[in-house]
Subunit: 521 residues, 2 copies
């Protein structure tokens, strides 16, 4: 609530963010953030959670936002804390996850002394911030906190940076401002909808490519209507979150590899975009195209992240006159038999499909290993799926942690490759500490398998011993079960399909975090 | 050697760096670096070493440079790889460690497509790079690699960034240029030396504050002459490396906490600086000064990192007419008795002093726990000491790894706090893989103890449950011995002084990495 009491800058900042509905702060503070820490001490509306590395902190805030739609606060220690959190802030920018990063800095008058931890925080943070300010006085703190909250939700939603110098945090004279309102995304331009509807009607093979909020409830219901009317409905390979599983309409996921995208879109004559962008290659390859839309295909955008994406899809369905319920079929619940024999990506997919709890969330950073699970769970109990978004490894475990904080009553599943798991394994410790109800499956194939594939695809030549050495995770093998246990997460190693199936069932039956190291054949 | 063969950009880059004496590449490559990986495959002069997280990669390059004075190459995957390595690049900048960071990027023509991993690498890397270029064509690659090598060694030495787009790496038409010469740092300005000598002669309590290369062989010998002539010789609290132990002259380390620096310098009337800067507080505190030189003290600089710091000290000693050998006493070898009873910071210091192998290197990121070891080892066998430099946690383990790569015939000791160890614990895996001869001691006190001290010092108030939660590493306790073993590093946990002493002796007697989790009372 507004206050003109003699608050410190830190108290005004924390109180303002709490007033705006922020309920979690993921933090790794240092000396320059001590007043923010004690301000959090006095703010019961915010749950403060320690990460032992800032990539955990920022990735958890991403997972929190992807699950509940609201930003969390992070508390980061100067430029180096920002850098450590930076890769997952990049991922969050690509997920369009709102996030209020509060970055402590030296006291304003101390910056010129260039003490060892001094760096140009604003320059480093700017590229991955949709909004960035530095509070220069305690009076700034509350007002800028409110603006930061609002900016994080303004299209395109994403991570914002508020730099809080230590003296601004500790000085009194700050106050809590009136609440700002959440930005509202307008509907699509009526002309664009009409143009798209006309083109779809005239097309032989019309397709819709969507992402963002269209991948949840109302958007999917509208997309289903379109699919029933003959529109091929696709969604981007990387997306913030998708509601899927039994009873839900399943649009088609865009391919990952560029040549498969080209193959898939061959013959499409109209491509309507809802928040999505025309498909491009994830990486460039010698002598292969990067822009993947067929030359003969007309592309019509209903709007980018600045408009209400769900409304785009609804209005297109309305304009086409499709019935306002029903449409393409929804998935039936399929309960596969328990797999037996070798532990493979496929058998893991079957086990997960069997045991995935209803209304679970899935954080997927399993890279090359996760495909069969994606396929198998199309007919599992209804669940939410959150993949890697920005391509920077280390997102999966922290996202699962943050999602569990946002939705403590739901079960979580984290699928992670061994390479990715080693980036931010510290998330396991926070899962243990906070009782995060997440079962983590590490696909242990002892390599950056995607890079072994990419090495050939880029035409870089046959890998000699040095290249093999740089792409392998063997020698020594990592014992992921022991790694998890060392941080307080109970764990086991599975080496057979039966063993994995039993372990997974038991893990979901219990509360709290658990890790299964899946040694796949 | 120079070549006009039809090399790819990646081959020219790697060959040029090898020609300039670079012998190690610490890497975590991705798809955009595959041609660099196969170029390394064909370059036997460079040892390629995988880190499972880029903070390991950059920290190891720092340790390599601090040990041998030459830059290593790193290979980083786009902007997110740079961000992950960024905190230790910050630390390396503060250590003035030369380092050639090669940052892969998307193909030049693909950048405009803004694929998910695209980011503004140059903007993010600029603040911690002493030199930054982007190779725009294959013809740039060799020339810029040579320039990068030279720039990394040019005062102030430090990390340089060479951005290598994927197409520049894979296209042919590159060549290897003539070798450039290493920059030479000139001696100090003669007037500055004369002014300093006059001031020292006239002073009652003259002091010299130095850092950088003056902390090794010839610099320390000259400093010893000055000390013998009545100059108080100090060195900065954070420094790249110091030769110390039995048989060596031990100058005085500057205090860490600001008020102790003020106390220590009280009465100094002349402060001569050699590469060092006038002392400032590491952090600002309410109502405490940040600039710590006494008002009445005359400050005379012999030069910054742009001049030859050793030569500064030698010339000052010459100008003062001090004898050109001898001076203050050197440390005698002291072999303490084996400690017994409780395992404490003090008993650990005694054990390390007893067992530290001659010519060992020590990487110290033990924070509040390391002080007694620093004191106890003043009379241990001669060794090199490398502390944290930039204040960003996670430097200790990677620096020890890189130092072991640079000096495989020397024994290494890594002292690390439990908080710091969790930042870049992946370094243990690379230590195991590469057979790094490093004994790591983790001081397990289950807290960010420095922050518990700083909380009081900043006047942020008494810590309530939330603040305590954010500064504690307990609940759950981390089993560091199990963590190390999970990554292939043999380990033990010590809980008594006798147990630690035995474990340390055994660890140094063996080759290869070992970790002792020291549960201190």
């Amino acid at each position: 609530m507004p206050s003109s009491a003699p608050l410190t800058g830190a108290q005004a900042l924390v109180g303002t963010l709490a007033d705006h509905g922020i309920t979690a702060c993921f933090a790794n503070p240092g000396t320059s953030e001590m007043h923010a820490v004690t301000a959090l001490d006095g703010e019961p509306r915010i749950r403060s959670i320690l990460g032992l590395f800032e990539g955990v902190v920022s990735g958890a805030a991403d997972g929190y936002a992807r699950m509940c739609g609201n930003p969390a606060m992070t508390l980061l220690h100067l430029g180096s804390g920002y850098l450590n959190g930076g890769a997952n802030i990049h991922n969050a920018r690509r997920a369009r996850s709102p996030m209020v990063n509060v970055i402590g800095d030296h006291a304003t008058y101390h910056l010129a002394n260039d003490a060892p931890l001094t760096s140009d925080i604003a320059a480093m943070a700017e590229p991955n911030s949709t909004w960035l300010r530095t509070a220069a006085t305690p009076e700034d703190a509350g007002r800028m906190a409110a603006e930061a909250w609002q900016a994080s939700l303004r299209a395109p939603a994403g991570p914002v940076s508020l730099i809080l110098p230590a003296d601004v945090a500790w000085l009194a004279g700050a106050s809590i401002p009136e609440r700002l309102t959440a930005p509202v995304r307008p509907g699509p331009d009526a002309d664009a909808v009409e143009r798209a509807a006309r083109a779809v009607r005239a097309a032989r093979n019309p397709a819709l490519l969507m992402t963002g909020t269209a991948l949840t409830g109302p958007g999917l219901r509208a997309a289903r209507r379109l699919a029933g009317a003959g529109v091929r409905v696709l969604f981007e390979f990387f997306f913030p979150g998708l509601e899927r599983g039994a009873g839900r309409y399943a649009p088609e996921r865009m391919q990952y590899f560029a040549e498969r995208v080209v193959q898939s879109l061959d013959g499409s004559d109209v491509l309507v975009l809802a928040e999505a962008r025309p498909p491009v290659a994830f990486f460039a390859y010698p002598d292969h195209p990067c822009e993947l839309t067929p030359d003969s295909c007309e592309v019509i955008s209903l709007g980018g992240p600045d408009v209400d994406t769900t409304d785009c899809v609804v209005q297109l369905a309305d304009a086409l006159g499709t019935p306002d319920t029903g449409g393409a079929p929804v998935a039936d619940l399929v309960m596969p038999d328990a797999p037996v024999g070798e532990l493979t990506m496929q058998s893991i997919g079957l086990s997960i499909s069997r045991h995935l709890p209803e209304n679970a969330f899935v954080s997927d950073e399993a890279g090359t290993s996760g495909g069969p699970t994606w396929v198998a769970t199309a007919s599992a109990a209804p669940h939410d799926w959150m993949p890697l978004t920005g391509g920077a490894l280390g997102q999966g475990l922290p996202v699962a942690l943050g999602a569990a904080v946002a939705e403590p009553d739901r079960k979580g599943l984290c699928l992670v490759g061994d390479g990715a798991a080693m980036y931010t394994s510290q998330a396991l410790w926070t899962m243990a500490r906070e009782g995060a109800d997440v079962v983590t499956v590490v696909f242990v194939n002892r390599s950056y398998r995607i890079l072994n594939i990419e090495l050939a695809r880029t035409g870089a030549g046959a890998p000699g011993p040095t290249a093999q050495h740089l792409l392998s995770l063997s020698d020594p093998s990592i014992d992921f079960a022991a790694l998890a246990s060392s941080m307080g997460v109970p764990s086991t190693t599975a080496t057979t399909a039966e063993g994995f199936d039993d372990a997974l069932a038991a893990a979901f039956a219990d509360d709290g975090p658990y890790l299964i190291a899946a040694e796949i054949a």
